[in-house]
């Protein structure tokens, strides 16, 4: 843990905080600028029977007549102190609503990610070592195929085959192991495509490097070559890709939860959007942004620790010269 790493970490964390704040502000502004003010929509609904006076009272009580910037400041400081406000529909704390459904979504998203990574590894290994005549080309087509099939289609196909035809799980009982498993598969397949695509390209690149031939010249087997040599340098850039797929996982969970009838963040968002429950939407969007930024922050912080070659900002090292003298005598002196 050297000085330059700490500098780097501090800088990255600072950037992450700024991004989170900006995303909160952005969501807030978008919601308030968009036409169709949900609050007055509800209040002015003739069925609710509020008089104009009552409406003005409520608006004043909620502080909705203040300037937008003041409202933003109030809302932001509330958010930062951990208070997500009350749901307009149920009047329950938004944090409670989210806490109720979060575990289910986390289980689904993590198992979806696990499925995606395993699948990408299998495809990656196959593209390197499956002989051409046994369909290596077919395997290389999988990522683009997976990317182009929407996950609700995959979900429905899986429900049809394993739920209805084979009776492996009860479609209504969404919490059984097999139901979760197939939901994770449906969620993981499109995500695996993104990971596999990058992984295959990197594996191809690494396999062409001299060191791969030299390592084979040391008499190691194919799987030793794959797991000991090719996988790590190929997987390092994938760390970044995996972090980026969190958006995919969050969005995918929403659809998958609907298809599999699971309760989760997805179903919560769906309900809140249809009922224009603004505090919930604002909270979920902000928390999604936080999750996205934090995961990518972790990836950025872990990466230099995994890759010995990564040079951190401010420590530009010249390329080692081809000298033969000592460790310290190999500096040409031109920061290239």
């Amino acid at each position: 843990m050297n000085r330059s790493y700490l500098d780097y970490a501090a800088k990255r964390i600072g950037q992450a905080v700024i991004v989170i704040l900006l995303s909160y502000v952005f969501t807030f502004i978008v919601v308030s600028v968009l036409p169709g003010d949900p609050i007055t929509n509800v209040l002015r609904d003739p069925q609710n029977g509020f008089s104009e006076e009552e409406i003005q009272q409520i608006i004043a009580a909620q502080g909705l007549d203040r300037p937008v910037l003041v409202q933003l400041w109030a809302s932001l400081s509330q958010f930062l102190s951990g208070d997500l406000g009350l749901s307009m529909r149920s009047n329950r704390p938004v944090s409670t609503l989210i806490a109720e459904v979060l575990p289910s979504t986390l289980v689904l998203a993590t198992s979806g990610l696990a499925v995606a990574i395993v699948l990408a590894l299998v495809i990656g290994y196959g593209t390197q070592f499956l002989p051409r005549r046994y369909g290596q080309g077919l395997l290389r087509g999988f990522p683009s195929l997976f990317l182009s099939v929407p996950n609700f289609v995959i979900g429905l196909v899986l429900i049809h085959i394993f739920g209805f035809q084979l009776g492996l799980f009860r479609v209504i009982n969404a919490d059984s192991f097999w139901a979760t498993f197939f939901a994770a598969v449906a969620l993981g397949i499109p995500v695996s495509a993104q990971i596999a695509e990058v992984l295959i390209a990197n594996l191809d690149h690494e396999a062409r490097q001299d060191y791969a031939a030299v390592a084979r010249g040391r008499g190691i087997s194919q799987s030793q070559l794959f797991f000991r040599h090719l996988l790590k340098p190929s997987a390092l850039p994938v760390v970044t890709v995996v972090a980026l797929t969190i958006g995919e996982l969050l969005g995918g969970s929403l659809i998958t939860e609907t298809v599999y009838g699971r309760t989760g963040i997805g179903s919560l968002v769906q309900r809140s959007v249809t009922t224009q429950d603004l505090p919930v939407i604002q909270a979920v969007v902000s928390l999604a942004a936080v999750a996205f930024v934090v995961v990518n922050l972790i990836a950025d912080l872990v990466y230099p620790l995994l890759d010995p070659r990564v040079k951190l900002i401010g420590t530009v090292k010249p390329r080692p010269a081809t000298g033969d003298d000592t460790f310290d005598d190999r500096v040409e002196g031109i920061p290239s």
Binding site: G217, S221, P233
Partner: protein, 569 residues
């Protein structure tokens, strides 16, 4: 076991006749699809002996090496017979052959910088080689690795073991790789251009190491090289290849001193080390200028120039109070190893960096890195030819665009005039108009470098800075480029600053030389003075590294080794 080996090493002639060769290649052909790259090649290599495959790129020499190791890429098809210890390598299933790789046949690759996995420690990769010795105890295996590292001349084996490849220099990496290759005590070592990516002094030390290990461990060496001088110094037998076929083969003395094929004779003539005075007539006008027989003017004057960089908080003096001057119409060579400050010097000369102290004048004008306008004015008179023509030309541009670009940038002449100038520049470097619309991808390496030179000529500069202009090229192509450069100098009176670590080439091309070491000029003078009567031990060591192309006698090698130890200790 090792001591027993020593007793039986070097089979005498009789037993060599009786025992079958360790490696026998017979009617080997390799094709990629329909393209045959190796055609009916045959040779044999006795136990403990060495054989060199010589040829230019595309000659099929590396393909043969890969075929022997069975590391040919997918889509390559090998025919014929490669017998190792009497077993046909090509016919064996991969599972069976793998036990030979590393254990019986070791491999030393071309470019040490890319030959080790960058994200694993040297030790982790060395353990793979050590695993081939069937030693079950990990601590003993590590001890064996550290012994081997010491054996190949690595000073601090423990530190090397824990390092990542990027933390070591090229020479150290090549020592590591040779160590890993010989660690399982193979019977055959295949070395594919083991020194072409290294500095000239290191080149010699690595080759010495290979020769020593070959003798000490009784290993057969299959050396692949493009350098006839190196091959004839290091191998008992030579096989000269061109376009995948054998041009000539035989004992080294025979092939080297009396080549019978036209191609081998040409190769011999193109090696700079063997023909120092090849271009004397083209070069003499420059010497006349130096002698003062013709009007002499100082074109470039570098006076007390220093440059310090800050690296990792440490300051590093890349160039330390250097001074030299170059007479108009002559070639000044900067020689030295990587890290000697050559590149920094030319960057300062081109105004890409600004000196911390000192003054550089070209044609009487002071060069300053800070002022854009004066920089542009300087660049018109001062052009650079970059080392590697395979990366220095934009692959999407046509030859015409590439050569015309400087004229466009400086808005010189009308469209028609520019076109005429492009043609003239191309004609000057010996390229015809039919290449105008070609892209770099459709040109050979030599043609590309000619385009790069033509590109500098359109601005009609007085000075061209040549940064290792031939180091990426084959030896015969290199000879062509040298000829082009010298005739341009003779015809146009150009002044060259020539950066190189190839002293043999400097000997052929330059008029004056500065020898650089660790940022300083340790010796300078005319090329004849420096090469015939070097005063500094460092210069002598550099000169000594030029492969002489004959079997140097044992005493000479020892003397040279002692000298080098003296200097580099």
């Amino acid at each position: 076991m090792a001591s027993q080996d020593k007793l039986t090493q070097r089979p005498d002639t009789l037993s060599a006749l009786l025992t079958p060769p360790l490696l026998k290649v017979d009617g080997l052909s390799v094709a990629y699809g329909r393209r045959t790259v190796v055609d009916d090649v045959g040779f044999d290599l006795a136990r403990g002996r060495s054989l060199a495959l010589i040829g230019e790129s595309g000659s099929g020499k590396s393909t043969i090496a890969k075929a022997v190791l069975r590391l040919l890429p997918d889509g390559a098809h090998a025919d014929g017979r490669i017998a190792f210890n009497g077993q046909d390598i090509l016919k064996q299933p991969e599972r069976h052959f793998r036990t030979l790789r590393g254990r019986a046949i070791g491999f030393v690759p071309q470019d040490p910088a890319n030959a080790l996995n960058p994200v694993r420690t040297i030790g982790a990769q060395a353990q793979e080689a050590a695993a081939l010795t069937d030693e079950p105890n990990k601590a003993l295996r590590k001890a064996l690795i550290l012994d081997t590292f010491a054996e190949v001349g690595l000073d601090n084996p423990g530190r090397v073991y824990d390092s990542y490849p990027h933390q070591l220099s090229g020479g150290m990496l090549q020592r590591v790789l040779i160590g890993l290759a010989v660690l399982p005590r193979p019977a055959l070592l295949v070395a594919d251009e083991p020194t072409s990516a290294l500095d000239v002094t290191i080149q010699k030390r690595i080759l010495d190491l290979l020769s020593r290990l070959q003798h000490d461990l009784d290993i057969s060496l299959l050396l692949i090289t493009h350098d006839l001088a190196i091959a004839s110094e290091r191998a008992d037998k030579l096989v000269v290849l061109k376009d995948g076929t054998v041009q000539e083969a035989g004992r080294t003395q025979d092939v080297f001193s009396a080549p019978s094929s036209a191609y081998a004779r040409k190769l011999h003539a193109d090696v700079p080390a063997l023909n120092p005075d090849r271009y004397a007539p083209l070069r003499d006008p420059g010497f006349h200028r130096l002698d003062g027989r013709e009007g002499t003017a100082t074109k470039i004057a570098v006076e007390g120039v220093s440059k310090t960089f800050s690296v990792d908080g440490k300051s590093l003096t890349a160039v330390d109070r250097i001074s030299f001057s170059v007479a108009a119409g002559t070639t000044h060579a900067l020689v030295g190893e990587s890290g000697s400050g050559k590149t920094t010097t030319i960057r300062l000369l081109l105004g890409l960096d600004e000196p911390d102290a000192g003054r550089i004048t070209v044609s009487g004008e002071t060069i300053s890195g800070s002022d854009r306008t004066s920089q542009r004015a300087v660049w018109r008179h001062l052009q650079l030819v970059y080392q590697n023509p395979f990366t220095s030309l934009d692959p999407t541009w046509s030859v015409e665009q590439l050569v015309r670009e400087p004229l466009d940038r400086y808005r010189i002449g009308t469209v028609a005039e520019r076109r005429a100038q492009v043609r003239e520049a191309l004609a000057n470097v010996g390229l015809g108009d039919h290449l105008l619309q070609r892209k770099p991808g459709a040109l050979s390496g030599g043609q590309r470098q000619r385009v790069a030179i033509a590109r500098t000529l359109v601005l009609r500069p007085d000075v061209i800075v040549l940064d290792e202009p031939t180091s990426a090229l084959d030896v015969s192509v290199q000879a062509d480029i040298v000829e082009v450069l010298l005739s341009l100098q003779a015809n146009l009176g150009l002044t060259y600053v020539f950066v190189s670590h190839d002293l043999a080439l400097v000997r052929q091309l330059a008029h004056t030389v500065s020898v650089m070491r660790k940022g300083r000029i340790v010796e300078h003078g005319t090329v004849t003075d420096i090469f015939d009567t070097p005063r500094q031990p460092y210069t002598r060591a550099l000169l000594d590294s030029i492969p002489a192309g004959v079997h140097a006698s044992q005493t000479a090698t020892h003397k040279a080794a002692n000298l080098r130890q003296e200097i580099f200790a």
